[in-house]
């Protein structure tokens, strides 16, 4: 029989078919109508969204929407060009300046997505002959960036600074540049990196450190700058990357740093050069959202109140949760049929959470990954908590 280029997808097709038998809704989730940052019509049913990354609820903020509309009217729907060509508008430059000021860093590069930010920085900063040491649970965009750059890539055990130190020690004789990569909040279980320990180890061995604050921007730290701020180690973090698609309610990515050479990365980075820049409306709403994020700490307080409520409720129900409270609250299940039934039960009660299956989960178990928002009202939180209580039976 002739082989086709599609043969390799047969295993996926079989897996999909098997999953469909357990939960027919799994592949058919379409948000038909979005009502607010926390509510939508999904498959004909009104749902509270408890799985999005809209941590501060800013995707429907009236000022952000107005800024986006005005920018679209004045500057058009897209830049139709790369940052390196005709795609750097005054808004892109202003946002870079505002991010640098907010983070108290010398420079910023704005990218079109968070994925591209990691792809661009990791593939460009570190190359052949150099080494990246990344936390084993890092996001796929970090792994992909590492692969694109040609550096030697070594994992250290998740959140294990001692394991990181052992590996840095093994590399000492090589006398090469090493970049350590960790995340502020890990997206699946919502656990923090032991950042003070990681900073101490990287300083001892003269390595560089990049922290992805995608899920911690606007969430951790007195001013919302993320885990580095909360842990009091911003000076020890060479590069902070992040995204506009979570707390800032839009789409895009960034890297901030005090290293003056950051600006040179632009010219060497293929994911920066060879993609279109963000639309003016996205830049405008992100600038407005950054202003709100940095001045309205009450949003962060509401977010944490909601996080504490859901975490303690699910803990009382006896669900196996991540190790600490955060706006990402994930319940772990051993059995696939059990997690499908639970997920479907929540859908029937009008609550949408993310169902995450191996190999996308950290330890091969199934996850119901919930995330709360400052935009969830007390009534919505009550509905979410009640749905869990009822679904567990």
């Amino acid at each position: 029989m002739t082989m086709t280029i599609f043969d390799k997808f047969q295993q996926l097709a079989a897996a999909r078919q098997q999953l469909e038998q357990h939960a027919s809704d799994f592949f058919n989730v379409v948000v038909e109508e979005i009502i607010s940052g926390t509510e939508a019509i999904v498959n004909g049913r009104r749902m509270i969204l408890a799985g999005s990354n809209n941590y501060l609820g800013l995707s429907f903020n009236a000022d952000c929407i107005e800024a986006a509309c005005q920018a679209a009217r004045e500057e058009g729907t897209g830049t139709t060009g790369s940052r390196m060509a005709n795609g750097t508008f005054s808004g892109h430059v202003a946002l870079e300046k505002e991010l640098a000021e907010y983070f108290n860093r010398r420079g910023t590069i704005v990218f079109s997505t968070g994925y591209i930010a990691n792809l661009a920085m990791l593939s460009t900063l570190v190359g052949p002959g150099e080494v990246i040491l990344l936390d084993a649970d890092c996001h796929a965009s970090i792994y992909d960036g590492c692969r694109l750059g040609g550096a030697e890539v070594i994992r250290f055990r998740h959140n294990d600074a001692a394991d990181l130190e052992k590996r840095l020690g093994r590399l000492e004789q090589r006398n090469t540049n090493v970049l350590v990569v960790a995340e502020g909040l890990y997206s699946m279980l919502g656990d923090r990196a032991p950042l003070a320990d990681i900073v101490a180890v990287k300083q001892k061995y003269g390595a560089y450190l990049m922290v992805d604050e995608a899920h911690s921007l606007g969430v951790l730290g007195e001013n919302g700058r993320g885990l580095a701020e909360e842990a009091g180690v911003e000076e020890g973090v060479d590069f902070v990357v992040g995204t506009f698609s979570k707390s800032l309610g839009a789409i895009g990515g960034f890297c901030v740093s005090n290293h003056p050479e950051l600006n040179l990365v632009r010219y060497a980075s293929r994911p920066y050069v060879f993609t279109a820049s963000s639309s003016p409306s996205i830049i405008a709403s992100t600038r407005k959202a950054l202003q709100i994020l940095s001045t309205q700490s009450q949003l962060r307080q509401r977010l944490w109140d909601n996080a504490n409520l859901l975490y303690s409720t699910l803990q009382e129900l006896g669900l196996a949760l991540g190790p600490e409270v955060s706006p990402i609250i994930a319940a772990r299940f051993e059995d696939m049929q059990e997690v499908f039934a639970f997920w479907s039960g929540l859908l029937q009660r009008g609550v949408y959470v993310n169902l995450v299956l191996p190999p996308a989960t950290p330890d091969g178990r199934c996850l119901l990954r919930c995330s709360v928002s400052a935009g969830h009202t007390p009534e919505q939180m009550e509905t979410i908590c009640r749905a869990f209580k009822e679904a567990i039976g």
């Binding site: 084993a136 030697e152 890539v153 070594i154 994992r155 055990r157």
Partner: protein
């Protein structure tokens, strides 16, 4: 490069708990096609080998590894580099 029998023996011992019951494993065994190891199991084996040999195994070498013998060869290269 000849396969080091001592390293092969140690690798086979580390892989054994991840192998389906009754399956024979030798240097020619394909780690994915024959043993059905998924990426999570492969990474667990890599961690155990790293601890056992006190080395770090770069992810970059994994595309070169198909059989148990390939894996042993890569470990020999890393340990040989000192």
């Amino acid at each position: 490069m000849e396969l080091d029998a001592k390293i092969l023996k140690e690798i086979l011992e580390i892989i054994a708990p991840f192998v389906p019951a009754g399956q024979q494993v030798s240097e020619g065994t394909d780690m994915v096609a024959d043993l059905g190891l998924d990426s999570l199991k492969v990474m667990k084996i890599v961690e155990n080998v790293e601890d056992s040999f006190d080395i770090s195994i770069p992810l970059n070498i994994l595309p070169e590894v198909r059989t148990v013998g390939d894996f042993v060869m890569q470990i020999q290269k890393i340990t040989g580099e000192g």
